[in-house]
């Protein structure tokens, strides 16, 4: 990855992407984008270019506007200023060019849905009518299930599947419309290490084979670090955008948080150490903090 000059001091940076090619239509393009809730500015002056096949990791504490960014790109929350282009067109709801993977939340054991039905909802769940099962639809579902190696439990009720199995289905569901952009909202949360790796591998494969652009909101940078092209780090209405080497540095994060932050890189891992007052929320991007694992999702350590 190319080293860039230190980012500017004002929170209005838009580092050009590495491996940039002129001919490519950006999968996501934001110009001067702003999102304000009441008198709280989540982000402002955001210029963003994500090209086909690139992966942008979105980091930051809870409530910093990471999910809101995805909602804005999904057309669910209008930008308060600026403009955006998604998958070559203007931002709109229900764009089949955009796939969405939610947080793993688990299903009730009784929910009337089998693995294949969850994936099928990704194909035509938004359409009116009853939705009679057809042969072509079934073949497409089988194909999607096979792609994520979920064929073995295709007819098992989703409520009886493990978190890892459910998240596999989420990937298949999100890819049902063959999207050119994949929005992932903390898809690794509450998964153990093996399943985190599995989900990351599936997303990475999709990216490489189909040139799908990926926006990946996460608390944990390390599982995706090897495949990250760009990092957007949001905190307190400010943000930094650039390559991991640009953004995940002691001086940059210290400035962003207005506190002493130390970023330690060892091999392929990143550990962020900071005064505990900074990380009052359940936030961390590495496995360095021990003081806020209240909800106890898995520590990242290999």
């Amino acid at each position: 990855m190319t080293q860039f000059a230190p980012p500017p001091t004002t929170p209005a940076s838009a580092g050009p992407a590495p491996h940039q090619r002129e001919s490519r239509q950006p999968a996501v393009q934001l110009r001067g984008a702003e999102l304000v809730y009441g008198d709280r500015v989540l982000w402002s002056g955001l210029n963003l270019n994500v090209e086909a096949g690139q992966l942008l990791a979105v980091l930051g504490p809870n409530g910093s506007g990471k999910t809101s960014l995805l909602n804005a790109l999904l057309g669910l929350t209008p930008l308060t200023a600026g403009s955006g282009i998604v998958a070559g067109g203007s931002i709109r709801r229900g764009n089949p060019q955009v796939g969405y993977i939610p947080q793993h939340r688990g299903f009730d054991s009784d929910v009337p849905l089998r693995a294949r039905d969850l994936v099928g909802l990704g194909i035509d769940g938004h359409r009116w009518g009853i939705g009679w099962p057809g042969r072509a639809r079934r073949a497409r579902v089988d194909e999607l299930l096979a792609d994520v190696e979920a064929t073995a439990y295709a007819d098992v009720p989703v409520g009886q599947l493990s978190g890892g199995e459910q998240q596999r289905l989420r990937v298949a569901q999100a890819l049902a419309t063959n999207p050119s952009l994949l929005l992932c909202d903390e898809p690794l949360l509450s998964l153990d290490l093996n399943h985190q790796q599995m989900v990351v591998d599936m997303i990475d494969r999709r990216r490489r084979e189909h040139d799908t652009a990926v926006l990946f909101v996460t608390h944990e940078i390390n599982p995706v670090l090897p495949i990250v092209d760009l990092v957007l780090y949001i905190s307190n209405g400010a943000f930094r955008l650039g390559t991991p080497d640009d953004v995940l540095r002691s001086d940059v994060l210290s400035q962003l948080y207005a506190a002493d932050i130390e970023v330690i890189r060892r091999d392929d891992r990143i550990v962020v150490l900071g005064a505990s007052s900074v990380f009052t929320d359940h936030h961390h991007i590495g496995d360095g903090h021990t003081d806020h694992h209240r909800t106890g999702h898995h520590r990242t350590r290999r």
Partner: protein, 325 residues
């Protein structure tokens, strides 16, 4: 004990002139069947959206509406409809999140029940009318009422057919449904209105206290034995039909209101389904196909997860058992 001894069982259960009674309840049987289909289908969404408590709350306001209608002398059906639609709209607009909704219901329900009791206390007419509102009165279905019941049911089921797929998507998987452009914010209140209609219709037949037997139990039972989006509604409708029509057939030969029979049938169906579901659950609900590609990988990858490691151990156990030979 003594009270029970004084009961003349022959007065309650008397099937001697059953053949003559049946033609008299023809309307009731048709009404029961129509309501069975309506309840069977609507209950699927009620369960998928976790609304049983809302059904109960709406039915109490429907009861209050019916009681008010008795008092001021208008049609009971109108009163029941006004009450339940009011409640349904209120709940649809008030609470999108389950927690908000439940507290809203907890506030509305006792108020509705209190109003209903007040209206009934002021009402000086036939006491059978009062009792019927709470426990049902299937025999009182005349042709005019049957017609309006059928028409309303057809309307509710038609609207439901149009919105079925996105409604179920929004119910079982709201986050992704919203992201995919499903108008979840509109579908919720729309369904509440449909539910209000279904409750108002049911209240007149099975009574306010027992609406849940029709609008919750059938799907709850079906979901114990199937997870197919096709079979759950089908089974649920069959269960509701059996409970309703069966309940009427038995009730005809007795002097007890219809509702105890309907609720008992519904309850027994639920218990049966639960037992079947449990027996299947022990063997693993659906036989998983053997992972052909790489069993060893699957084993190691899946083990940290509690639920799966159990299944994996079972697979492994079989293999380990064979090895010593």
């Amino acid at each position: 004990m003594s009270a029970l001894a004084q009961v003349n069982w022959h007065d309650i259960v008397n099937f001697s002139d059953y053949g003559e009674l049946l033609p008299l309840v023809r309307n009731s049987l048709i009404a029961g069947a129509v309501l069975g289909v309506l309840g069977g289908v609507v209950s699927v969404v009620v369960m998928a959206r976790d609304l049983p408590f809302a059904v109960h709350g709406i039915s109490e306001l429907s009861f209050a509406g019916g009681a008010a209608a008795l008092l001021i002398g208008t049609s009971l059906m109108t009163g029941a409809f006004v009450g339940s639609l009011l409640a349904a709209l209120l709940l649809g607009l008030l609470g999108f999140r389950a927690r908000d909704r439940n507290s809203a219901i907890g506030v509305i329900m006792p108020f509705g029940l209190g109003l209903g009791i007040l209206f009934l206390a002021l009402y000086k007419g036939r006491s059978a009318n009062k009792f019927g509102l709470l426990t049902g009165q299937i025999v009182a279905v005349d042709s005019a009422r049957l017609t309006s019941l059928v028409i309303t049911t057809v309307i509710v089921l038609s609207v439901l057919a149009v919105i079925w797929r996105p409604l179920m998507f929004a119910s079982v998987d709201p986050d992704v449904a919203t992201a995919r452009g499903v108008p979840t914010v509109i579908l919720g209140p729309v369904f509440m209105v449909l539910l209000g209609c279904a409750v108002a219709l049911s209240v007149q037949v099975v009574g306010a206290l027992l609406v849940l037997a029709l609008l919750c139990v059938p799907a709850a039972a079906a979901m114990k034995v199937s997870a197919s989006p096709l079979w759950v509604p089908v089974l649920s409708t069959v269960f509701a039909l059996v409970a309703m029509v069966g309940g009427i057939f038995v009730a005809v030969g007795t002097s007890i209101p219809i509702s105890p029979y309907v609720t008992t049938f519904a309850f027994l169906i639920y218990v049966g389904c639960r037992l079947i579901g449990r027996a299947r659950g022990r063997r693993g609900w659906v036989q998983r196909q053997q992972p052909v590609v790489s069993q060893s990988v699957a084993t190691s990858a899946v083990q940290p997860d509690g639920q799966v490691s159990r299944r994996t151990t079972r697979l492994d156990g079989a293999r380990v058992g064979e090895e010593p030979r």
